[in-house]
Symmetry: C2
Subunit: 712 residues, 2 copies
Amino acid sequence: MTTRNGLGALFEPRGIAVIGASASPGKLGAAMARSLETFAGPVMLVNSRRPDPAAGMHSSVAAAMEATGATVDLAVLCVPASATAGALAEAAAAGAGAALVCAGGFAEAGGRGLTHQADVATVVADTGIRLLGPNTSGFLAPGRGLVASFVPGAASIPAGNVSLVAGSGGIQHALAFLLAGAGLGLHLGVGIGNGLDVTAADVLDYLAGPGPVTGPVALHVEGVTDGRRLVEAVERLTEQVPVVALVVGRNDVGHLARSHTGALTPVWRTARAALRAAGAVLVDDEREMVDAIVALEQGRLDPIADPGVGLVTGQAGPAVLFTDRLKTAGVSVPPVGSATAAQLDELLPAITHQGNPVDTGRPGETFTDVLTAVGADPAIDLLAVYALLEPGALDLTAAVTAAVNRLGPAGPPVVVATGGPADDVVAARRALADAGIAAYDGVAGAVTGVRSLIDDARGRDARASAGPTVRLVVPVGFTIPVGEDEGKRLLTWLGIDTPTRQACDDHADAHSALARLGAPVVVKMLEPVVLHKAAVGGVHLGVRTDTDLESALDALDAAGARRYLVEETASAGIDLIVGARRDPVFGPIVLVGLGGDLAEDLETVAVRPAPLSEATAVGMLDELLHSPAESANGSGRNRLNRSALAAAVTALGALLTAVPELAEIEINPLRATADGRLVALDVVVGGVSEVGTVDVTHSPALATVVDGQGGL
Amino acid sequence: MTTRNGLGALFEPRGIAVIGASASPGKLGAAMARSLETFAGPVMLVNSRRPDPAAGMHSSVAAAMEATGATVDLAVLCVPASATAGALAEAAAAGAGAALVCAGGFAEAGGRGLTHQADVATVVADTGIRLLGPNTSGFLAPGRGLVASFVPGAASIPAGNVSLVAGSGGIQHALAFLLAGAGLGLHLGVGIGNGLDVTAADVLDYLAGPGPVTGPVALHVEGVTDGRRLVEAVERLTEQVPVVALVVGRNDVGHLARSHTGALTPVWRTARAALRAAGAVLVDDEREMVDAIVALEQGRLDPIADPGVGLVTGQAGPAVLFTDRLKTAGVSVPPVGSATAAQLDELLPAITHQGNPVDTGRPGETFTDVLTAVGADPAIDLLAVYALLEPGALDLTAAVTAAVNRLGPAGPPVVVATGGPADDVVAARRALADAGIAAYDGVAGAVTGVRSLIDDARGRDARASAGPTVRLVVPVGFTIPVGEDEGKRLLTWLGIDTPTRQACDDHADAHSALARLGAPVVVKMLEPVVLHKAAVGGVHLGVRTDTDLESALDALDAAGARRYLVEETASAGIDLIVGARRDPVFGPIVLVGLGGDLAEDLETVAVRPAPLSEATAVGMLDELLHSPAESANGSGRNRLNRSALAAAVTALGALLTAVPELAEIEINPLRATADGRLVALDVVVGGVSEVGTVDVTHSPALATVVDGQGGL
């Protein structure tokens, strides 16, 4: 059975064998057998050491199949790590297409666990059996009564539309319980564990079909090895259903960071950037995950660049909080049109706030009319509501569902936040959910719900409207690592401005450069292997006279310099870092951050997968600088040339994509001067191997947007 | 009755009169009378238009008192806005010490509402009666059965230890319901509404005593008029109980921002900074508020600069998420000591993670021992726990309470996060709360709880260890507005470095200044009234030759210059903005932000009330720069001189505090050069009135830390 990426045998088995089934209730094998009792198909118990065919305990998978006539697609292995490879081989030989291994004691334990994991991997490779685990608490497919989990209470998780793919089995169960508490059931819940064979990408591909795709997917990412595959799976899946991603590890900075680029882009940042670019909605914790899924389970918006939210409230204080939090989340709350305003003017007393938000004051009989008017406004793509439950004064569920019915199928999705006695709130949320309306117990959750619907719509719009990815052809060879002068010629060839300069072999050359360039100049050591020239005293700024120059050159000589670079002094401005590097997990990425001495302290950096389009690069700048430069006041601020910066970012990303021998290229600083130039003051180029001449001559297989007309 | 700030009559009345009581159930007067039925003392109904003494409906407060012999301390006014002043005067005359006015139609409605509010204010001023409202849903003191609210269901709010002071009545009720849902009851819940008389500061002062102070205080701030009073009330109250503040209005930028300083510090930022400095814990939404209160209701930590959290988990995935989120929240998770490590080594299998966090794997019999060992470690000030509820495998409540008992009264506070079937989680949370342990339904809430306990401890520690506030005496007169040259002399007097420069009356002066200072120089227009010189072309950088200079001077002349400032060119570095201004609500504040062209885009700024200590100023830098400069790597980065920067900030704050005529002083940029200087490149000084010579000669009433030895 190899349907759906080979995972049909795992998630849709015709029959299941529990290997290592046990009569002792405390053992894993007994707990698994109990959990699987609700499965609609045959479940066979296997114990090679204590078989008891009369009691349904078989000596092997083959014996069980023979005795029952049933097919075993899935083998659930409940034997120690050391016995797993053997049991797996036997199950595969008997025809099982998939296996679940919950036990620990494999690679995560080190020592002999590494051997056990390698032995299991060999069986997987030899037999083609698909294996989930080891070191996971299993998976849940409540729609088929399939509870392949040893966690007590997992059987209480209801069937539903949500799928859950978690790196950790513990998180998988915690999220499943929280979703159940919010009234949502699972289509499929999977804990990946060690991910020896089946990874999150595999499960996402399985969910993407062929076959019915049910509802939103919650993705928990703790570590990623196959980043590109994961991103591609998310790209495919978000075409069909929303994907919400919780990436952990913000504070686990990677151990290896050879240059600033590495230090600035831990895997957490890269993973989030890549998943967002693939269309996923990002959340920060498990509660936000549930809030996001609650909204997305009711549907999604059309792909829109900036959906407008209409907010109708029954209390002014919550209205202020709701609006404030929506705006902090980057959500637009546009004014309603004049026709809507006229309607509201008729429906509401003059003292109410009739803009957007519309605060009705204590809701009265016209509440449904107000909701309908705002929801029907052309500027409104999503209707958000807040009202306290006030028995006797307002039937919130009735008022909102009436408005939804009046607005009809073309009406906007509705998100409701309410408050009141806890039991009443639970009942109202349930009634609203039954009517297809996402509902929350307050502003906090509702804001996450609204924001998630909008991020999902924006993500799809951004993917649809990104424009062509910038790629290039590199027609010449160059030597890696590249020295600063050669690196700057490479930048020139990429269309990036650099200071006027002269590479000098001796002091006399340098003096003539000073004369030619005019004081003050910058004098640097010119050695390809020194990545941080400033740290070793290899940079002298503000050199004005021949005497200054001579002492600077002497200092460089003392630091080991053999050649010098004499450059014009760039005028003052904003220093940025722009770079591209090859992430070990996600492949080529680009980054833009604030440069200068405070770069690391500020942690202000935007990351995207490369290659990328110029529109995507402009989006990075919007992320980095909280407000677009175009919105600045007229005081002459913000002279940053965004299109030139976006072109530089895309060019670096395209270069790294085109040259597999290149590990990184970083411009630090890239100065945006007060007079509008964008000048690369320093550049570091690193290869995937330490040294060597690399002859790079690529064929123009892809669109050439930078014409290769100059050599280096 | 004027106990406790005069609010005893409001919150602890001996008797209550409902004025405008009604027989129509839908009317406010009827709803209020119903709500007040649970009050233990006498509640008299008054309706001057339809009195019916036989049915207990009196014609006036005086008549009611005479008929019943009871005292009316509190008058609850349920009459229209236009009739409120008259009814209030009558109640005051009859001896009522306080009144509640829920109705709207006052100042918030504009028009005639302004008149009504002024009339009521006159009665308040003339009689001394304390008035809560208008435009509020009232207040709750469930311990006395006192439900002075028209919101249905408010009577279901249980009595407890938490107090709630909300700008908005709607938020007050929403929070009260959420707290009740989390098992917490109210000591007092108050919605301030229009705040005509009783403000949040008044209620906080009332809560601070004299008299028993019960538990943590939740403060919702929507707008503040008496900022200094509010801050002082929070300072007093946090000495006794924790205060958690939710400030809304992040996105409501003030209308008036004459200089960058104004634009960079909206009231939201200032209010948060001031409340935090006063010891309050800050939260972002109502759910975080509840999570914070749940933790703080169980107790608080001792004042400690950096409390250590020990985390014990039963599942590895949640452990990673919990640790990651704690670190993102700035919480320290220090290693346990060697004695504890040895204990853990005996208690747990080798494959578990025994550092901090301690992940036990699926919790077994030793879970209590593990909790006790970690909780007893000297590095641990707070114990956090995560474990899924696994009936049959672990009795989490029993395990945690056993550890708490073993740790005894000197043990650390414990915060528990759990997961599982929703009903089981509710039951476990309740059982843990009954045992005095804060418990949450997942990592998200628990992180807020832990963070709040730590912020509360840090806030008190910071206040205790801030050191002396820097004040100064200004011994000379100067003219406001101050021109750039005079402003820089003022900075020199404050101990802040400035570029070598020469103020020039004519072109010849300027040429001699160029010769004296050496090329390149900066040439600026020297006019006191031009705040943004750069915007009008009043600044020329990099002027090297006499020819350059002449064209620069011509351009300045054309822009209207009459005098010039010729300055040395500062070397490159990091540009900051440092300033002090007089906030209309909070009084003197200081700010530090990133300078240069991107300042507004980045919104990166730290704010504190002035005057302040140098330790507090250093804390601002820590806030601005995510990691301390001292933690930087050895690559020569972060040459920022923090102590000099802190001294500059405190000096500006002290100056503004000492000179009431000064509205603002802003250094932009203050450049931290690569060679370690901290140089003020430009300064703007503004007075509270537009122009005029101000003779400032203050007596040395306060500690003089800057010796006034030079005139300007």
